[in-house]
């Protein structure tokens, strides 16, 4: 996987940059773009691609190591963890977070749960159908 | 020490090349004026003599007996005003450049001063390289003037028929014109005149640096320092003229040289200190 094909990361300036990078990795892992055991780019390549400075890239990798998202043996390049449990927890963590954010923003509208579920099924269904046939569909 | 020397030579080369257009221009101007002027003056005098001979029917030899020929000094005498202007031009331009060689680095679109002040070499090399450049210009013009006088003698031999020629040695030719002030024929004279010139250059350098460090206050200080040195030198020189002074002329000369040395040392030391920590972009 060339560094250039690495998906763009839209960054905001309020959250710590290194945490945004870690999240981005989690999304790539969750969506399967990064497979277990796959080599991750070097600190320098990541910095160039993400347009962040090498220290931040370094900090992101350190954070990911602490969260055991990546493993480094000796001084060979780090690799995505192949520990299934960690991988699974990443997916649920991301989904949980997304849903949490959704719930908080919707709670203010005080809508009953069933209506919400119905609406999600409908949007999610249409979103999926739309995504299927034409790859370049408008982003949601 | 060696790297500093190499850096100094490279900086000096840079400074010399930055002025080479003007220097060559000056040389051309001076040559044109003095050689062109001489050939013109010679041609007019020769035509006068020819018409005089035709009217009187004498031969050239008889004319020479009567008028003892046409000396180069006589011809140069007619050129004195113009030569003076040419030399004054050189002096004024080089004197002005003694300040411009500093200010051009500060002003203009590019601030070369930033780069020069950040060189990993003692900053005093800037002072010495610019000084070396100015001295190179002065001595090139000095040498060029000698070449011109030689050229004038050659021209004289070419244009003047040998019957009218009056032989003079090269040094005698220089000694007999006002040029001798700038092209001294005596060592003591050379050391004093060019010693004074060097001190003036050093004082101008340090005044420029004082201005670059303390702006107007610095400029005034520099001018005051230079004026004081100058007044002291003139006072000593005049003292030697006044036969009644308490000090003997040779003692006043020693003081004169002393003041030159002290002023030079002060200017160099002050320049070194200012460059080290006081000058500002």
């Amino acid at each position: 996987m060339g560094i250039d094909e690495w998906p763009e990361l839209a960054m905001n300036s309020r959250d710590p940059v290194y945490l945004q990078v870690v999240r981005h990795f989690k999304e790539l892992i969750a969506t399967g773009w990064l497979e277990a055991g796959q080599h991750v780019p070097s600190r320098r390549e990541l910095a160039a691609r993400m347009k962040i400075n090498p220290n931040t890239a370094q900090k992101a990798y350190k954070e990911m190591e602490e969260q055991q998202l990546i493993v480094t043996e000796g001084n060979s390049p780090s690799r995505i963890t192949s520990d299934a449990a960690t991988l699974r927890s990443i997916r649920s963590e991301l989904l949980g977070e997304a849903v949490q954010a959704f719930v908080e923003s919707v709670r203010r509208l005080d809508a009953p749960v069933e209506e919400l579920v119905e609406l999600v099924r409908e949007k999610y269904g249409r979103g999926e159908a739309a995504a299927e046939p034409s790859e370049g569909g408008p982003l949601p | 020490m060696k790297t500093n020397l190499i850096a100094l030579l490279k900086l000096a080369d840079l400074e010399i090349r930055r002025f080479r257009g003007i220097l060559l221009g000056l040389m051309a101007l001076v040559a044109l004026i003095q050689l062109g002027g001489l050939s013109m003056v010679t041609r007019t005098r020769l035509s006068q003599i020819e018409s005089q001979i035709e009217r009187s029917g004498m031969t050239l030899a008889e004319f020479k007996l009567q008028n003892s020929g046409l000396s180069l000094l006589e011809l140069l005498g007619e050129l004195d005003g113009v030569t003076g202007v040419a030399i004054a031009c050189c002096i004024v331009v080089v004197a002005a450049y003694t300040l411009i060689i500093w200010y051009r680095d500060w002003f203009g679109r590019a601030s070369f001063a930033y780069r020069l002040l950040m060189l990993p070499h003692p900053r005093f090399l800037l002072y010495l390289s610019k000084l070396a450049a100015i001295l190179t210009f002065v001595f090139s013009l000095f040498a060029w003037q000698i070449v011109i006088v030689a050229g004038q003698m050659l021209l004289y031999h070419v244009q003047i028929p040998h019957q009218l020629r009056i032989e003079r040695t090269f040094i005698d030719t220089i000694r007999s014109t006002d040029l001798v002030i700038f092209i001294p024929v005596r060592l003591t004279e050379f050391l004093l005149v060019y010693g004074l010139g060097l001190v003036i250059v050093l004082l101008l350098f340090t005044t420029a640096l004082l201005e670059r460090s303390y702006r107007l206050k610095g400029l005034l200080g520099g001018l005051a320092l230079s004026a004081a040195a100058f007044v002291l030198l003139v006072w000593l020189w005049a003292g030697a003229e006044d036969r009644g002074s308490f000090l003997y002329p040779t003692e006043l000369l020693a003081l004169f040289i002393g003041v030159l040395l002290v002023s030079a040392a002060a200017a160099l030391w002050l320049g070194w200190r200012l460059l080290r920590g006081k000058v500002s972009v």
């Binding site: 960054m11 905001n12 300036s13 309020r14 959250d15 710590p16 940059v17 290194y18 945490l19 320098r44 910095a47 160039a48 993400m50 347009k51 962040i52 400075n53 090498p54 220290n55 931040t56 900090k59 | 790297t3 850096a7 490279k10 840079l14 930055r18 203009g108 679109r109 590019a110 601030s111 070369f112 930033y114 780069r115 002040l117 950040m118 060189l119 990993p120 070499h121 003692p122 900053r123 460090s213 920590g277 006081k278 000058v279 500002s280 972009v281």
Partner: protein, 229 residues
């Protein structure tokens, strides 16, 4: 690290620096932020010994500024530093002649990275190209610290992006970078440490990621508090 302690400077009876203190760590990108006239450039020039200070002290890697120190610190000012009559190649030759720590190979990389024409006259460069060449002169020295004065001001968007890329490259890695700017916009997420100046005084001095983590504020938010509040 670069240690600036309590430096003061008066310029024509105006207190340009009223006791500025901060540190720029080696290996970090520190940004000196302040509105126009806050004294940013003066701080950089003071650190480089290009302008004397009335009080306080400056240490670079524990040493005071000296000619030898110029082997360890490079300064990229906001203007040309080479005579206009020179061509780019003469400028590079000048650096090679006088800077033992000059890295010709890296200079070549940067020249092609910025697509600069060696034969061009320095005096006729546009502002953007001139800044790029300045960056070449600064970055191609193997030094521990690099100081940059408003590298982005008045420069077209594309040059700006090109210049920003330099900050993400190994050119910056484990070097101390101190960069001044008054519009943080495009390099907000590039800098590790921010020092905010106002009327010659340090009003804020914080680690950007820490500020985001603990207060959820971006550098611009802090600037808004300081300069608009």
């Amino acid at each position: 690290m670069i240690e600036v302690s309590d430096i003061r400077k008066k310029y024509r009876r105006k207190q340009v620096l009223g006791g500025v203190s901060f540190q720029a760590q080696k290996g970090q990108i520190t940004s000196l932020i302040g509105l126009n006239g806050a004294g940013k450039s003066t701080v950089l020039k003071a650190i480089m010994g290009l302008t004397p200070i009335d009080g306080g002290s400056i240490r670079i890697g524990g040493q005071a500024i000296s000619p030898a120190a110029y082997n360890t610190i490079a300064f990229i000012p906001d203007r040309l530093t080479m005579p206009g009559s020179m061509r780019l190649r003469d400028g590079l030759q000048f650096m090679a002649d006088f800077y033992p720590r000059w890295n010709p190979a890296r200079a070549e990389d940067l020249m092609s990275f910025f697509r600069l024409e060696r034969g061009e006259k320095i005096g006729r460069l546009s502002k953007g190209t001139a800044m790029k060449f300045n960056l070449v002169l600064g970055m191609a020295q193997d030094v521990d610290y690099v100081l940059m004065d408003e590298p982005f001001s008045g420069i077209d968007l594309f040059s700006r992006e090109l210049i920003a890329e330099v900050f993400t490259s190994q050119l910056v890695e484990d070097r101390g970078v101190l960069i001044t700017t008054h519009e943080i916009g495009d390099i907000e997420h590039l800098i590790d440490h921010a020092v905010l100046l106002d009327q010659g005084r340090v009003v804020r001095d914080f680690d950007c990621e820490q500020m985001r983590e603990e207060h959820g504020k971006s550098v611009i938010d802090v600037m808004r508090e300081v300069y608009r509040g």
